[in-house]
């Protein structure tokens, strides 16, 4: 009498596992569909109202609003967003390959592009490091000062 019960007990975790995996996949796909939906809606709005913002930016605000309303990132969206964020690089491979069409334009101005992309980046990094250090580095000093005042 007890043996069939035992079988039933050993099988159930397996079924549960498969079920929970399917459930997870369904939730992930739902989140995915939601993200695509937000993108299509924001794309439609920017085109219909002729706003010159990149459509995905409007989408960021919509999703941020959703997060603020729920006071957390909805778990369905988090599930779908994680792989999208980790593999973001994949999605701009096609655009980067498109550089082929502009090879002549790039080769026309090698020095200008070097100055703009390499030299100016390092220079602006240096200046912005000085500024950031002034704003944020003094923060610890302030805190220390407050402490000594309190003491």
């Amino acid at each position: 009498m007890t043996t069939p019960k035992k079988v039933a007990i050993t099988l159930s975790p397996y079924i549960k596992k498969v079920r929970s995996r399917l459930f997870l996949l369904a939730r992930c796909l739902l989140g995915f569909a939601l993200l695509i939906g937000i993108f299509l809606v924001s794309d439609f709005i920017t085109q219909a109202l002729e706003i010159t913002l990149p459509p995905a930016l409007l989408g960021i605000f919509i999703l941020l609003l959703i997060c603020l309303i729920f006071r957390q990132v909805p778990s369905i969206i988090l599930l779908a967003a994680k792989p999208l964020l980790t593999h973001m690089v994949l999605f701009f491979i096609p655009a980067t390959v498109g550089i082929m069409a502009y090879a002549t334009l790039i080769l026309e101005f090698p020095l200008a592009l070097f100055l703009a992309i390499v030299v100016s980046t390092v220079v602006s990094m240096f200046i912005s490091a000085l500024i950031s250090q002034r704003f944020l580095g003094s923060n610890t000093l302030n805190r220390a000062g407050e402490k000594s005042d309190a003491d």
Binding site: T52, A95, L105, A112, T121, S124
Partner: protein, 238 residues
């Protein structure tokens, strides 16, 4: 509408060759990620550089035009939109940092966000470069997905924007340790702000190797600079 382009993609008579190039894109990306891990996350071996170079050489070898490839890779490019929207999640997670630090973090980000494109634009302005190249240069310090959309909105070129942004990020990540030593930037929060503002996502992966605080500030700066730039540039130039 992107959805219509997607439908026509699946109706296309050349579906077979499309699927081959789609597969090539995915496999190349997987390979490039492996190379990146093997090179211990050196910015010089960033997956986008490796995979783009591989695909370009394959396209040249098989005499496939760039337009044909763009058509084939459309589903991949389409996902960039939803993936960009997912950037709201790291921003939401850093909102408390933003509110806690207030203008102490906003001002340096805004400063860097104005300085970097201005210097870049000035350095190509005197070379008689075409206006679309100048416009593209303005977006070079914000995160790639937003940069591409913004470049298009202000009359720049999306693919050029992607490449400029990636190279800027790589340069930033490579020179960051030297710049921090010379400018005596020892505050990790400040380092994070600089990496995020100037070198976007590539800088953020550098920041992750410095510390958690640094990474948090870098992420916040990437989102903040990206959003402010993407709002302001179209208002100014479109």
């Amino acid at each position: 509408m992107p959805i219509e382009a997607l439908v026509s993609y699946f109706n296309d008579a050349y579906l077979n060759s499309h699927i081959v190039w789609l597969g090539v894109t995915l496999i190349t990306y997987a390979l490039a990620r492996k190379v990146y891990v093997m090179a211990s996350h050196s910015p010089l071996f960033h997956p986008i550089l490796v995979s783009a170079l591989l695909i370009i050489s394959l396209l040249i070898a098989f005499d496939v035009s760039q337009e044909q490839y763009q058509k084939a890779a459309l589903p991949v490019a389409f996902l960039l939109g939803p993936a960009t929207i997912a950037l709201a999640i790291p921003l939401y997670k850093q909102l408390t940092t933003l509110i806690r630090m207030g203008w102490r973090v906003v001002l340096p980000v805004l400063f860097g966000g104005v300085l970097a494109p201005t210097l870049a634009w000035l350095s190509i302005y005197f070379f008689n470069t075409p206006i679309n190249l100048q416009m593209t240069m303005l977006v070079k310090s914000i995160t790639t997905p937003l940069a591409m959309g913004t470049a298009e909105a202000i009359g720049g070129i999306a693919s050029l924007a992607a490449v400029f942004v990636i190279i800027t990020g790589i340069v930033g990540a490579i020179f960051a340790p030297l710049v921090f030593r010379l400018s005596q930037t020892d505050c990790e929060m400040a380092q994070g702000v600089v990496l995020g503002t100037i070198a976007h996502a590539v800088g953020t992966s550098k920041a992750i190797s410095i510390s958690e605080t640094c990474a948090a500030f870098a992420t916040l700066s990437v989102c903040l600079n990206g959003i402010v730039t993407a709002i302001l540039l179209p208002l100014l130039f479109a």
